[in-house]
Subunit: 338 residues, 2 copies
């Protein structure tokens, strides 16, 4: 498979520079719009919103929206800018609520909003940003884009509830886990990419290709994140080894190690993930078991397969710098691990 | 003022029977849609949603949407049903998040969702219902209705954050408080009523009348609620005297009593509302001060003035059973106090 080969071979040079350069001018407008829409006469709102907005995320999702629109020949107007800002607000609202639900104290090495301003403010400012996101979508005036993004909004929340209900159960299967990733992460990537051809007036064929691109990229992205948490060397900043383990998050490397493990090993995983016996000694044992069963490699293989699917979906586009940018993102995503 | 007189004179016979009878058939469809859209393969979602949905609320907001649509000649189709269900979901999502933010254990005499299923599930299921609300709006396909409801969604959240930031400060002025009520309660009433003429294809004049109707009704409704909390005799079930006081909620009867109070009284209010010295003895003193300064009557007067405004706005409609229903709701709302 050519796409898969290219994904594997080009890791070394993979970069998000192409999409950053391509979207630079439009992302400037997205940032202005974000700052303006995060404003409010209620000072606490921009204070909290800006804490997250300025937290050094890559803004990959809104860049995907811009690049996808450009790849389909969208040029005039600001629909792509507004939808990109909406996508980022949806993401930011999810992070605010996630940190409350997961009781997280740190995100990307900074204190979470909830530890500074409290859970209550985090919940409500998340609600506000979601409302503002919908207002921007309405402003664009595309009912199809609204359908895609409101659907994603419900799917993301549904995935979160599912994860909450199933959380910390070692009986979670690979298929279960992928369903959660599909909902929690891939749905917004898929929506972010799909609205591009929508505002460019393209047909269902183009929409479906971009949806597949975003979804596969999102799953690939999350699986690589899972790997990085167990000692993959991160080429970008942000995550510390063992964060998922200490929070009792059951991810694919763990699920596969549990499935392949002896009875004694299964008992260890249950005690660590279900009962919270997750100190540094337990983490060392977890890393050792994951290493012994080769489940990082198995997870990377799956991430590469999804990456290849994303690559193929974007490769169907007519040649352009925007197409190259979308392809490079896939390679960058998979190449974060080395 | 004829409207004001009628509001005062007809308290005794005021009833929501007219709107209940008028909307009965359509509300059956709204209820079916609510149950179906609160469904999910994730069982926890319908479990929590149905806990709130079956909690015996009057469903006043969706009835307003139905009645407003009918009053403007909307007959065919199911846009009013879908928008009514959206409005109820927005309301339900707000209640779920509110109970988390206020740390409430009881609502209408029943345990809140957060005490049964936890704060985390309440936050996420609220998010899910909001997503489903937007999906139903998109399904209706009216960009104007979407604009009205997404705007309300942001305004409600903004009002909640404002209240959180200003909460428990006795410096809250009457104007500040009315701004919060306008955002937290009246915005959804206004949106619920305004979408009626929108889907009936009416002009801005009709829209503005219904917006004014809903907004004034919402403020009136909230002020009467505030009064009921300090010993007004409730003609409907639900609230217990002193709930607001014990939760440290600063409402209009308290603000007016504080403003009219001596230095010693002001110190009492600060200690009760800002420092939580709100036992039964303090409640008795609060009721006494409110009584001495006549601030329940002053609050009722303001509620009646808003009621009269709502009445006038709906009185501009051509005569119909739906118009009578909208007018009777105003009277019912104000007449809950006696």
């Amino acid at each position: 498979m050519v796409a898969a080969n290219r994904v594997e071979q080009t890791q070394a040079r993979a970069t998000i520079d192409t999409i950053v350069t391509l979207t630079q001018r439009d992302m400037g407008r997205v940032n202005d719009l974000i700052l303006s829409m995060a404003g409010s006469r209620v000072e606490l709102i921009p204070e909290i919103a800006n804490h997250l907005i300025s937290s050094g995320g890559k803004r990959l999702r809104p860049m995907l929206t811009i690049a996808s629109a450009l790849a389909h020949g969208y040029e005039e107007g600001d629909a792509h800018v507004k939808l990109a800002a909406s996508v980022e607000f949806m993401h930011t609202a999810t992070l605010l609520h996630d940190d409350v639900v997961d009781e997280s104290d740190l995100r990307r090495g900074r204190r979470t909003a909830r530890t500074i301003w409290g859970n209550q403010a985090s919940v409500l400012v998340g609600d506000y940003l979601l409302g503002q996101a919908f207002k921007m979508m309405v402003d664009v005036g595309s009912m199809a884009a609204l359908a895609i993004l409101s659907d994603a909004s419900a799917v993301i929340a549904e995935g979160e509830v599912w994860q909450l209900a199933a959380a910390k159960r070692m009986t979670t299967s690979e298929a279960d886990y992928l369903s959660v990733v599909d909902a929690k992460t891939a749905a917004l990537f898929a929506a972010a990419a799909e609205v591009g051809p929508v505002i460019a007036g393209k047909s269902m064929r183009e929409r479906e290709a971009m949806r597949r691109y975003g979804r596969s990229l999102g799953i690939s992205f999350q699986l690589i994140d899972d790997v990085l948490d167990y000692g993959g060397v991160a080429t970008d900043l942000g995550k510390n080894t063992g964060d998922d383990f200490r929070e009792g998050k059951i991810t694919l490397p763990v699920i596969l190690a549990y499935e392949a493990g002896s009875d004694e090993e299964k008992a260890f995983w249950r005690s660590a993930m279900e009962e919270g016996r997750n100190d540094d000694l337990a983490l060392a044992k977890a890393v050792d078991l994951i290493d012994r069963h080769g489940t990082l490699k198995a997870t990377i293989d799956r991430a590469r397969a999804y990456g290849a699917e994303a690559y193929e979906a974007a490769a169907s586009l007519p040649p352009s710098l925007a197409r190259e940018a979308l392809l490079d993102v896939v390679e960058f995503c998979v190449a974060r691990i080395r």
